[in-house]
């Protein structure tokens, strides 16, 4: 499997296109240049590759036939949901096709008494909550893009969101999948019931970034809406004080539904844009959302207020109604978009650190920002240590984009150094392949390659993502085989 495949001849392309049309009919196949451009990147717009075709299947059967055709013709394929991903997971591959799941967007079953919703992968995240809201339920994983992003994409990335501190991430809410494996077989794993015997393939597929197959059905767990919720807002002179407040709340045995911190640069950007009422001279603001039974929330509120005061909060507000609550959150939710006011471009990262390392890592970010001469705004899920440093730059200045990437990489290195992760939500995709070795040694990468080989020995399913260098698949059972040095260097393949 080489990095730069040879361009396919036009005659082959036409024939391949015809075969796709036979599976999907002409309205399910995109082949014109101006339409293909739409699919050349996802939310990571710095990298663009035009696929040779884009297909829009409507069923698992169609997905299976497409994949079987790809196997036959040795064509790589990349699945795509809404294309909102920030790590280039849906970036097409050279001389490959994109399989868009956007037409598989039906909610198949809503089973309130059993707390399950079954959906096709193209269903938008928020539609799930909308479908069960009247019954007093919701779907907990709530990434900021939930108005647009799809469940299929959430499954691929194991998406989080503000409320994942208390309620978990996607993998804690997916109980079953129907998957078309990279060889074309359709299998079901898990289901509406739990504790299925065998290996937890559901757990393996969630977060596998579309490398182990294409999901065509998802069984989700929904939960009861909390009886009561309360949002508190506090401003601080320094980010360290806000971090201290977060630690203090945790130390008191309280796990809020969410805790978010924004630094001065993000506050100023947000105030310019949406006027959420954040104090523009504050070093940091902290949002704490408590939820649960009314008694629980009433009991927790004074404790949290004390912690905030103990940590030198300058201003403390408690949202008095849902309108005010929405306003508190408006700022945080528009943080990324608001960066447009501060800078023509930004590059956001997604590192995770243990909460206790926050002051250390923020200090490191400040140092790096000065070293590279680029501003970094910080917005983060303080409750679980998931940072979103926004490196601001101007692409029209030569070399600045590269500097931004380098700076972001250094931030990730700092995160891993303190025991964290290079990605908490956005996935590795194309963007962070080069940082995988910061977290994983040869043995770990080798083990993950075993997993890939068990599912996709041909390497056609979303290749070029997540793993730094392509590795060959040893035939299972040949335990004594050792990789030839030429193979190891990625210079040659065994066949």
């Amino acid at each position: 499997m080489t990095d730069r495949p040879v361009s396919k001849p036009p005659k082959w392309k036409k024939s391949f296109g015809d075969k796709l049309i036979r599976i999907l009919h002409s309205d399910g196949v995109i082949s014109s240049d101006d339409e293909l451009i739409v699919y050349e990147c996802d939310g990571l717009t710095g990298y663009r590759i035009k696929p040779i075709f884009v297909v829009l299947p409507k069923s698992a059967k169609e997905v299976s036939e497409i994949i079987k055709l790809c196997n036959h013709e040795n064509v790589p394929f990349v699945p795509r949901g809404a294309g909102t991903g920030l790590s280039g997971g849906a970036l097409p591959t050279e001389e490959g096709i994109v399989i868009s799941l956007s037409r598989m967007n039906r909610i198949l079953e809503v089973d309130i008494p059993n707390q399950r919703v079954v959906v096709e992968p193209g269903v938008v995240n928020l539609w799930v909550t909308d479908a069960v809201s009247d019954s007093g339920y919701y779907y907990a994983p709530d990434p900021s893009s939930q108005l647009v992003c799809t469940i299929g994409g959430n499954v691929a990335e194991n998406s989080g969101g503000v409320h994942c501190l208390k309620y978990g991430v996607t993998t804690n809410h997916v109980l079953g999948l129907e998957v078309v494996l990279p060889g074309g077989e359709i299998v079901e794993v898990g289901g509406k019931t739990v504790d299925n015997p065998g290996y937890d393939l559901v757990g393996l597929f969630v977060g596998s970034e579309g490398l182990l197959g294409i999901v065509t059905k998802v069984v989700l767990r929904i939960i009861r809406k909390p009886e009561s919720s309360k949002t508190l807002f506090a401003s601080f002179d320094k980010v360290e004080y806000a971090g201290g407040a977060v630690a203090g709340i945790t130390a008191r045995g309280i796990i809020p539904a969410g805790m978010e911190i924004m630094d001065n640069l993000s506050i100023r950007a947000v105030e310019k844009t949406v006027h959420a009422g954040y104090p523009v001279d504050a070093g940091a603001i902290l949002l704490v959302e408590l939820d649960g039974t009314s008694a629980e929330v009433e009991a927790q509120t004074p404790i949290v207020l004390n912690v905030l005061k103990e940590n030198r909060a300058k201003e403390i507000r408690v949202a008095k109604d849902s309108e005010e609550r929405a306003l508190f959150w408006k700022g945080r939710k528009s943080a990324f978009a608001a960066m447009g006011r501060m800078s023509p471009d930004y590059y956001v990262q997604d590192g995770v650190i243990p909460r206790t390392k926050l002051p250390e890592v923020l200090g490191e970010i400040e140092y790096l920002s000065k070293k590279y001469g680029l501003r970094v705004a910080n917005v983060f899920h303080a409750g679980d240590g998931n940072l979103h440093p926004l490196v601001l730059y101007d692409a029209s200045n030569t070399g600045e984009a590269e500097k931004a990437e380098e700076l972001a990489g250094e931030i990730l290195r700092a995160c891993v150094d303190v025991g964290g992760s290079i990605t908490g939500e956005h996935g590795v995709g194309y963007d962070k392949k080069r940082f995988m070795h910061l977290m994983f040694d040869e043995n770990a990468l080798d083990t993950m390659n075993m997993i890939r080989c068990a599912f996709d020995p041909k390497g056609l399913c979303n290749p070029g993502k997540v793993f730094p260098t392509p590795r060959t698949c040893v035939e299972a059972g040949r335990a004594t085989y050792k990789e030839h040095p030429i193979q190891k260097a990625g210079l040659g393949e065994m066949f």
Binding site: P197, G292, A454
Partner: protein
Amino acid sequence: MNDPLKEIINIVGDDNIISQSPELETYTVEGKKPNMVVFPKTVDETSEIMKVASRESLGIVPWGGGTKIGLGREPQKVDFVLCTKMLNQVVEHEASDLVAITQCGIPLKDFQTVLGEKNQFLAIDPPHVENGATVGGIISTNDSGPRRLRYGTIRELLIGVKVVRSDGAVVKGGAKVVKNVAGYDLPKLYVGSLGTLGIIVEATFRLYPIPEFSQTLLAGFSKLEQLRETVDKISNSSLVPTCLEVLNPSLKEILSDGLGLSLKRGEYALAIRMENVERAVRDQISRVKDICSERGVEGIVIESSSEKALWGGIREFPWKSSQNNKTVCKASVVITDVTRVLGFLEDLSNRLALKILASARAGNGILIVSMDGEISSLVEAANSLRNLVVSLGGNLIVQYAPPVVKSQTDVWGEIGASLTAMKRLKSHFDPRGILNPGRFVGGI
């Protein structure tokens, strides 16, 4: 003794093996006696042992506390047992991060003691803890208890692992942080894998603060239908119970007798546990009491040592008795089918003259069933229970049974088309098939 075994003895030292009777007999696995039991003291020793075993294709049975060694099919071969008892150090407990790392041979009991020093705990409450169930064993078998309603199973709590692969390679997966999507979710792959993909030597967990206060409401129901309706009402309310358990009459009798409570015979029991700050607990218990009273049922509030004893009984009941023919199953169905299965068990008990104790995790759809009686009746009961559960879209695992019952019923049940993918995974992770061969699904 063969040379490879001598080689292994050299790795761990003479003092850290068992090779003589009668001690060797205590490590019998489903009637098969190992040649030797080894106790590695470090991850490196474990790695070296696996290299030898892999080279020589020796069949290994990983062993923690041995409390669940009866789970699984008959082993294909048992050349030696690898016991993790000496890998028992807590590596790190960072209380402010609610994270801890431990070696996996540590008994859960000891781990909880260490965590308790900072008022935190690992939110898993499986059986066998008093008998030395280890953290590694709990992960490998995906064992759980009533607290799973609120906290999930070990799957939701495990955020990192270190394993020794069949070829001796030491592999780390996950991280010290809860939010982590880098690479495949290796920790999930190892949960419930029954030692077939590697020896789990270290685990990183997310922790929870020990709840401040706890109370349980125990209520008796003469009609299963009324119980179902009540459970439904509670599940759909905004109450947040830690445990929601339904006990069948036989089990209720045993437990309430043990507590010195004189509850009405022949009734099913609902046990709801609330854990939180005191004010929130009292409020929720009072609300549940009202829900029961509305249905003409008076619940009694249980706390302190009685509460502890009740939940201890619910966790351990299948394992307390030592009947010869005891057969323990775990059934999983959707929440609304729980009472249907309980009703079916009542019929089975009458029809086949079986003593059946059952506890249902009503909010999860899980039933733990312990049966005793004639062998042929047990076989029929297990198989017809599986048929019912599977027809309802669920699954049944036989957690424990005498060999004569096991041979006539399938421990794991049908897996379906995904078994092929599981076998492929296994063949990559353990090409020589040396890790717990034959015990897992599909004969893996």
